[in-house]
C-alpha cells in the first residue's frame, strides 16, 4: 500500500503533465502509475469543483449556493469516472486496445491533475478580479480543462497504442457504451425492485395470516 502512494508515484503525476506521451507509455509498460493515486486525484478534482462552485467570488460565480453539495458531487464524479473507465475498457477490449482497466483508470485520473490545479488557482484568482477582469479567471479555468482533456486523449491513445483517429472513434463509442451500461443498470434495478416487492408482499401476506 505504501508503494502505491509513494512520493515517487505522486511526482509521477506531475511528470505526466509535463511529458504526457512518454509518461503514459511508461505507465502502460513499466507500471509507473498507481490506481489509488488516480482515484485520489479524481476525488481531489471533485472537491476542487465543489469548492470553486461554492467559494469563487461573487463577481464570477453564478451558482445557487444551496445547490452545491460536495458529497453528491463526489459520488457523481466517482460514478462517472467508473462508468467511463469501464465503458472505455469494454470498447477497447473489442478494438485491440492494449491497455488494461488499470491503465485506463490511471490515464484518466492523472489527466485531471492540470484541471485540479487550474480550478484552485482560478478560485483564488477570482477573489481578486472585478467584473471587467473576469477574462483572467475564465482563461485559467478553460486552459486547465482544455489541457486536461487533451491529456486524457493522449493517455487513452498511448495506453492502447492507437492512432488519433481510432482514439476519437473509441471515445465516441465509449459514450454509447456508457449509455448502454446505464440503461442495463436501470433495467436491472427496476427488476430487482419488482422481485423484492413480490417477495415482500408474500412475506406480508404470511405475517397477516399467522
Amino acid at each position: 500500500m505504501k508503494g502505491l502512494f509513494s512520493k515517487d508515484k505522486w511526482k509521477y503525476a506531475f511528470y505526466t503533465v509535463s511529458h504526457p506521451m512518454d509518461a503514459y507509455y511508461e505507465i502502460r509498460h513499466r507500471d509507473r502509475g498507481s490506481v489509488p493515486v488516480a482515484v485520489v486525484l479524481v476525488m481531489l478534482f471533485s472537491f476542487s469543483f465543489s469548492i470553486n462552485r461554492m467559494a469563487a467570488s461573487f463577481v464570477v460565480n453564478n451558482v445557487y449556493p444551496l445547490s452545491v453539495n460536495a458529497l453528491t458531487e463526489l459520488i457523481a464524479v466517482l460514478l462517472l469516472y467508473l462508468l467511463f473507465c469501464v465503458g472505455n475498457w469494454s470498447i477497447t477490449c473489442l478494438m485491440e486496445g492494449e491497455g488494461r482497466l488499470k491503465d485506463i483508470a490511471i490515464a484518466v485520473g492523472y489527466a485531471l491533475t492540470p484541471i485540479i490545479v487550474c480550478y484552485n488557482i482560478a478560485t483564488i484568482v477570482s477573489q481578486f478580479v472585478a467584473a471587467d477582469e473576469e477574462a483572467f479567471y475564465w482563461v485559467i479555468l478553460i486552459a486547465g480543462i482544455a489541457y486536461g482533456l487533451l491529456m486524457m486523449l493522449m493517455g487513452i491513445m498511448q495506453v492502447h497504442n492507437y492512432t488519433l483517429g481510432k482514439t476519437l472513434v473509441t471515445i465516441f463509442l465509449t459514450f454509447i457504451a456508457m449509455f448502454i451500461i446505464i440503461f442495463i443498470v436501470l433495467l436491472f434495478v427496476d427488476l430487482i425492485t419488482q422481485v423484492y416487492s413480490f417477495f415482500y408482499s408474500i412475506y406480508q401476506e404470511l405475517i397477516y395470516r399467522m
Binding site: F58, V59, Y64, A130, A131
Partner: protein, 499 residues
C-alpha cells in the same frame, strides 16, 4: 432522530410565538387574513413571501353605486379629473362613477347624433383623453364613438380604409386609448398585425407594434416534411393579439399580450411602434416564473390588461391566476398580489385594471364588480423609493429602502438601493455587503474595485517592503549557492588532483 425532534419542537414553539405576536400585534393582523398570497421572486427564481403591498379595501357593484347591476363589464378608465368610467358591456351603457366609487354621477346610454338618437351595442372599451373627450369602443356597431364626458356627440371613428387591410376586414374594436395628440390606438378583433392607429381626424394611418411570430426550428422541420395538403390543415402561425392598452404622458403605449412562453407579456411601444421596454436581470416580463405543468392552474400568466401608474411603474393583470404584477421602469418585479376565488378581494374573471391615486381597481366581468385595493405601508414605501429613483434622487430613496428592509429583510431592490447609496457615499465595504445581498454584480464589482484600490494604497508600504526584502534575499541566496558550488568544485578538483 432525537435531534430532529428537538428541532421540530423548537420550530413549533417559534411558530406559535410568531403567531401570537402577529395576533397580538393587531395593526398588521389583517395581512394574515388576506385571501391571497403575496410573494416575489428572488434572484434565484425562488418564491419569497413578502408583506402585502396592497390589500383589498372594498367591492363596488352596480347596486352599491345606486344604479342597476353591471352586466359583464369589460373595461374601465379613470379620467384626468378622477372620475371612473365603466364600459357596462351587456347593458349597452357607460356608467360614470365619482372618485371614491360611492355613487353614480351619470349613465350614458344614448347620444344625439345629428338630430337622431343613437346608442351602443356591446361597448367593450372606454377611454378619456387628456382633452376630456370620451372614447368608446362600440364593438358590435364597429365604430369608435367620441363624446364629451357629459354624453354630447363629437364624432365617430370607423371603417378604416387602407391597402394594408384585407378586403373583407371587419373592424370590431375591443379596447381603445388616446394619446396627447388625440391619436387613437385601437385593439381590434382579429387584427393580428398590431394596434390600429387613427389620426385625430379619424384617418387610419396603419398598424403599430406588431408582435413577431416565433417559429422554432422544430416547427420549421415539420413544416418542411408536411405535404401541401397537410400544411393547409395545420394551424397558421399568427402572432398573438394585444389584450390591453394604456398610454403614458410621453405618448408611449403600454400594451399587454398573452405570451405562451411566459417571457414577455407587455410591450412599451415608442411612437414608431418599436418595443422599447426594459427587462430586468432575468430578462423576464411574463409574470409568474414558477408555474405548474398540468391542470387548470397550469401555464404561464395571461395578461389581460396593463395600467401605467406613473414614475415608470406599471401593473399587469393576470387572468389565469388573478394576480397583479407590478414592474418598474427597469423591469424589476416590485410586488405581486391578488388571486382568484370567491372571497371578497379575489376575482373570478378579471378583465381590466386601473389606478386612482394610491388605489388600484380591478374590474371583474363575471362578478360584475370592481375590487378596490389600498396601499399598505410596504407598498407605499416601495412605490415612493422607486419613484425617487426614477427622478434620479437616489440619496433620498435610502431612508425609504431602509424602512422596506425592516419590513422585508430579503428585498433585493432595497438592498441594491442601499448598496448604491453607500457606494456614492464612499463606504465601499458596506456597499459590497448590501450589493451582494441585492445580487447586483455590476455595482458590486465597482465597489470591489474601489475597495481593492483602498487596500492596496493602505498597505503599499508593507507590500513593497516585503517584495524588496524577498528580492534581496533571493539575490543573497543565489550568491551563497554559487559560492558553495564553487567551493565544492574546488574540493572535488583538489581531490581529483590528489587522485
Amino acid at each position: 432522530m432525537k435531534r430532529r425532534n428537538r428541532m421540530k419542537k423548537l420550530t413549533a414553539s417559534l411558530f406559535t410565538a410568531a403567531v401570537l405576536t402577529v395576533t397580538v400585534g393587531g395593526a398588521d393582523a389583517y395581512a394574515e387574513e388576506l385571501p391571497y398570497d403575496t410573494y416575489n421572486y428572488t434572484y434565484w427564481e425562488d418564491i419569497a413571501l413578502t408583506p402585502a403591498a396592497y390589500v383589498p379595501t372594498g367591492t363596488v357593484t352596480g347596486q352599491s353605486v345606486g344604479t342597476t347591476g353591471f352586466a359583464e363589464p369589460q373595461d374601465l378608465c379613470v379620467s384626468p379629473d378622477g372620475l371612473v368610467y365603466v364600459a357596462d358591456t351587456k347593458n349597452n351603457r357607460i356608467v360614470v362613477l365619482n372618485e371614491n366609487m360611492t355613487e353614480t354621477i351619470r349613465v350614458i346610454e344614448n347620444f344625439n347624433r345629428d338630430g337622431a338618437e343613437d346608442g351602443f351595442d356591446a361597448p367593450t372599451g372606454v377611454c378619456v383623453s387628456e382633452h376630456m373627450e370620451l372614447y368608446i369602443a362600440d364593438s358590435n356597431h364597429k365604430r369608435i364613438v367620441v363624446l364629451t364626458p357629459e354624453g354630447e356627440f363629437i364624432k365617430i371613428v370607423d371603417n378604416p380604409q387602407s391597402e394594408i387591410l384585407e378586403d373583407n376586414f371587419d373592424f370590431i374594436p375591443l379596447k381603445v386609448t388616446v394619446d396627447y395628440a388625440d391619436r387613437v390606438y385601437v385593439i381590434a378583433k382579429n387584427a393580428f398585425e398590431g394596434i390600429l392607429v387613427f389620426e385625430s381626424d379619424g384617418q387610419f394611418t396603419g398598424y403599430f407594434g406588431t408582435i413577431d411570430v416565433k417559429i422554432t426550428l422544430w416547427e420549421k422541420f415539420w413544416k418542411r416534411l408536411a405535404s401541401k395538403e397537410e400544411r393547409s390543415k395545420q394551424q397558421l402561425y399568427i402572432p398573438t393579439e394585444f389584450t390591453g392598452i394604456d398610454i403614458d404622458s410621453d405618448g408611449f403605449v403600454y400594451a399587454s399580450n398573452i405570451d405562451s412562453d411566459g417571457v414577455q407579456g407587455v410591450r412599451r411601444l415608442n411612437p414608431k411602434g418599436e418595443d422599447v421596454i426594459q427587462k430586468g436581470e432575468n430578462e423576464n416580463l411574463g409574470g409568474d416564473l414558477i408555474v405548474g405543468m398540468f391542470g387548470t392552474y397550469a401555464g404561464p400568466s395571461e395578461f389581460t390588461d396593463v395600467t401605467y401608474r406613473g414614475k415608470g411603474i406599471y401593473s399587469l393583470l393576470d387572468r389565469k391566476r388573478g394576480r397583479i404584477f407590478t414592474y418598474d421602469r427597469e423591469g424589476n418585479l416590485l410586488y405581486i398580489f391578488g388571486g382568484l376565488g370567491s372571497q371578497e378581494g379575489t376575482f373570478n374573471t378579471p378583465v381590466a385594471i386601473e389606478s386612482i391615486g394610491d388605489q388600484i381597481i380591478v374590474l371583474d366581468a363575471y362578478n360584475s364588480s370592481i375590487v378596490k385595493f389600498g396601499e399598505t405601508e410596504y407598498g407605499s414605501l416601495i412605490n415612493d423609493a422607486v419613484g425617487l429613483r426614477y427622478d434620479g434622487d437616489e440619496t433620498q430613496a435610502i431612508s425609504k429602502w431602509q424602512q422596506v428592509l425592516k419590513l422585508d429583510e430579503n428585498n433585493e431592490l432595497a438592498n441594491t438601493g442601499i448598496g448604491k447609496a453607500y457606494l456614492t457615499a464612499g463606504d465601499n465595504e458596506a456597499a459590497m455587503k448590501y450589493l451582494e445581498l441585492g445580487m447586483n454584480r455590476k455595482y458590486y464589482s465597482i465597489a470591489w474595485k474601489r475597495h481593492r484600490n483602498e487596500i492596496l494604497i493602505e498597505n503599499i508600504n508593507v507590500i513593497m517592503t516585503v517584495v524588496i526584502i524577498l528580492i534581496i534575499l533571493n539575490i543573497v541566496y543565489k550568491k551563497l549557492l554559487k559560492q558553495k558550488i564553487m567551493e565544492k568544485r574546488q574540493e572535488k578538483g583538489q581531490k581529483g588532483g590528489l587522485a
